[in-house]
């Protein structure tokens, strides 16, 4: 008996060193730091990495739920309905209007390459992909539900339940559901665009594209659309040189930009600078979807942001350059 007690005691005496466990991961490490980001910093743009280190089984499960309508409050809408892959991760509508829902306040931004975004939403008030997913879940124009309800609906599916139990000790919970969707969203990167390959020296851009790239730099587009994601790493006032909203009498809260979230005057008309990767696929443009054509958007941006009036040729060349930013999603060209 005493020998048994002794063993227990030695066990207790030796077990006082262990790693404390912490709560669930509710925020996500974005932007991803990558060794492929420009190291010297003297070049404003850089190629995307080929892949990210993510939990593959979670990505796979997240991918299926990304297409699962049971995630939405009324089981009619899946994530992919607003973030279509053939629309560059957006959905081609200025204000998406799905049956039984009110129209979205803004043009749905692309979800692609969000791993390299420093903020989310047009206003840039959302700090990580988790908050972005929360906003989409709660929005009456989008999923219109709650994580709790969605996990209850999915729990009735034995297969989904089993897969969560396989991946998480606590199985299918609202937090875990949110996490697999977040991880899947982060996995949607589009490397190997023609531009990235030209940066790596694998191909040469056409003369027009090359010229467009030159204008993009010289005219100052690159001042804001810069970094590994060609944008997505700063906030900027819409209308630096000319007033974009001049004469508009129907301004919405969304038009106020970050001001609508913070109420600070310095944030009025301030928006998150979007990434221009796959921009040729995500028409219409701007938060209000006011430009249908890429060339028109380029011209408008040059005017309002740079105080420069481009001619059709210049706008066309810049647009040609922007089309070289279409990448590959999951190994397939977009």
């Amino acid at each position: 008996m005493s020998r048994g007690i002794l063993l227990v005691l030695l066990g207790v005496a030796c077990a006082t060193e262990h790693d404390a466990s912490f709560g669930p991961q509710t925020t996500f490490a974005t932007p991803f730091a990558t060794q492929e980001a420009p190291a010297s910093g003297d070049r404003a743009l850089a190629a995307l990495p080929q892949r990210l280190t993510l939990d593959a089984p979670k990505v796979e499960l997240g991918g299926r739920l990304f297409r699962d309508v049971r995630v939405s409050g009324d089981s009619h809408l899946a994530c992919i309905d607003c973030h279509a892959f053939d629309r560059g991760g957006a959905n081609g509508q200025a204000h998406s209007n799905f049956p039984g829902r009110k129209p979205t306040a803004v043009n749905i931004p692309s979800l692609f390459n969000s791993a390299f975004n420093f903020r989310f939403g047009w206003a840039g008030n959302l700090e990580d992909i988790g908050q972005q997913l929360d906003a989409a879940m709660e929005s009456r124009a989008a999923m219109g539900g709650t994580w709790d309800d969605a996990s209850v609906r999915l729990a009735s599916d034995a297969r989904v339940r089993r897969e969560f139990e396989h991946l998480y000790p606590d199985g299918l919970t609202p937090i875990n559901l949110r996490e697999v969707l977040a991880i899947y969203s982060l996995s949607l990167i589009t490397p190997n665009s023609r531009f990235d390959r030209s940066l790596r020296g694998e191909l040469a851009l056409t003369a027009d594209e090359q010229h467009g790239y030159g204008l993009f730099r010289d005219y100052g587009c690159v001042s804001c659309h810069q970094g590994i994601n060609v944008g997505g790493n700063m906030l900027q006032r819409f209308g630096v040189m000319r007033d974009y909203f001049e004469g508009r009498t129907d301004l919405t809260a969304a038009d106020q930009g970050l001001f609508s979230k913070t109420g600070r005057e310095e944030d009025r008309y301030v928006f998150r600078v979007p990434s221009l990767r796959n921009v040729a696929l995500t028409a219409p443009y701007f938060h209000d979807g006011s430009k249908e054509k890429l060339e028109d958007a380029v011209t408008a941006m040059a005017s309002f942001q740079l105080g420069r009036d481009l001619d059709a040729n210049e706008a066309g060349q810049i647009a040609a350059f922007l089309r070289t930013l279409n990448g590959e999603l999951q190994g397939k060209p977009l």
Binding site: S2, V8, L9, A13, E17, P38, G220, C224, N233
Partner: protein
Amino acid sequence: MIRRVDAITVLFSLGLIGFSFWSWPRRIDERASERYERQLRTLLALDFRLNAEVLKARSGVSAHYDGIVQTAAARKRAYRELRRFPSFLQGRAESEIRFQLDEGERLRLESERLIERFKAGNAVLRNSLRFLPVLAAELDPSSRTSERGSHATQLIRDVLLLQSWQDAALLARIASEMDWLRTAIDAAPATETATLTTVLAHARIVHEHTPRVQALTRDILAIDGTAGTQTMMAAFTRSHQAAVEVAGADSVIRFALAMAVLAAAAGSVMFRMRRGSELLRGAKAELERAVASLRFEQARQKELSDLKSKFVSMVSHQFRTPLSVIMSSTEMLEAYGDRWSDEKKQEHFGRLRYEALEMSRMLDAILTIGTHEKGLLKFDPRPLEIDPFVGDVLAAVGDATGQRNRVVFRGTGRKDPVLADPTLLRHMLENLLTNALKYSSNDTDVELTVARDDNELRFEVNDHGIGIDGDDLRHLFETFYRGRNVGSVSGTGLGLSIVRGAVELHGGQVAVRSQPDVGTSFMISIPCVRGPI
């Protein structure tokens, strides 16, 4: 002893368990501790790196903000990680670090707000700075020589100069140049208006944004998060050192308790081993005793069986003798009875009666010993005047053996009675006297001496007969045992057993002293209980 050692073991064990649980919250998770310290150092480094990234962006060394964004994100993560306190960080140190973290977070948010404004403003500023030289080249060649042209060129040079140092005079000069140009544009030809307007717009941006961005840069760099981080590091180090000391003392106590448990457990094991070997030895001895007893019993059983065989042959022999006498006398009386004289017939009738009595006595003896062995022989004392009683017995023995005259009797000479069982006493004396007469020659005396005092009554029967061998003496009182030198003298081997039984029932003792061919003495003493007078 073992119970005591076990109790000590349990006591120490409980002490160790209790102490381990009690000291559990004070343990140091070294991995968590190292991680925390690393995180603090990382935070310190990140503060400096972020400032460096801002300066690189401000100066144009870096053409993008990825460095700023990633460093800011890493700093934000570091603050979040620092909220995961190692378990030993408690009390004052924890609240101090918590306070510094809150303060640090406040500074971080302030810094990030300034950085966002810096990024936006700096992007616009750098865009204009990049664009102005392009504009200078685009100025209409004809206007370059004009006053408007030279003012525009001068303005561009001055706003570029503004990047090197911010001089109030320079700012004032730029402002007046812009005013001049704004007025001059109205008078300029249409070909120049667009370019000059653009020059003016970008010059205005540089003029406004340069001090603003410069101030933002200064403000960002002025936010000192490192002081708080250093305070946290000091608090952490203090707390860690204190915790290490306490945990060290805890470990020593735990180790001592564990050693005590080990020693007590070892002691318990040793005692158990020793007791085990003692038990084994005891069991072995017990086994040996049992074997010996079994052997003895076996020998006794054999002896008994031998005795019984002897008894059966003896009884059959003893019964056969009187029976053959009875048979022969009866046959002779039948054949010659009518011719024999009365005297002769009486002799044969007397022989018949004697042998029948002999057989009856033998059966009595067998029944008596049987009753005694079953524990059913009754002790029934009554007042007895001893000398006349012994005289009666002597007469009876004399009648039976016809040798009354050989017995020399010395009585007590007292008339007061004693309490004794006459039946048992008779059995005893008859047997002793018959034996003495049987085993001695007819020409020797047999002495019977009875003596008494207030405490005991003593009988002594002496003969000068064949005596008893030393080996036989030991078994003399056993049932059916007969000495080896009895020869043809008849006997049942029961007499002395009956004697012993009778003496024991009286609570007395019997002793024998004998020498072969010299004689035998039986001495009996029984407690003397005087009867009522």
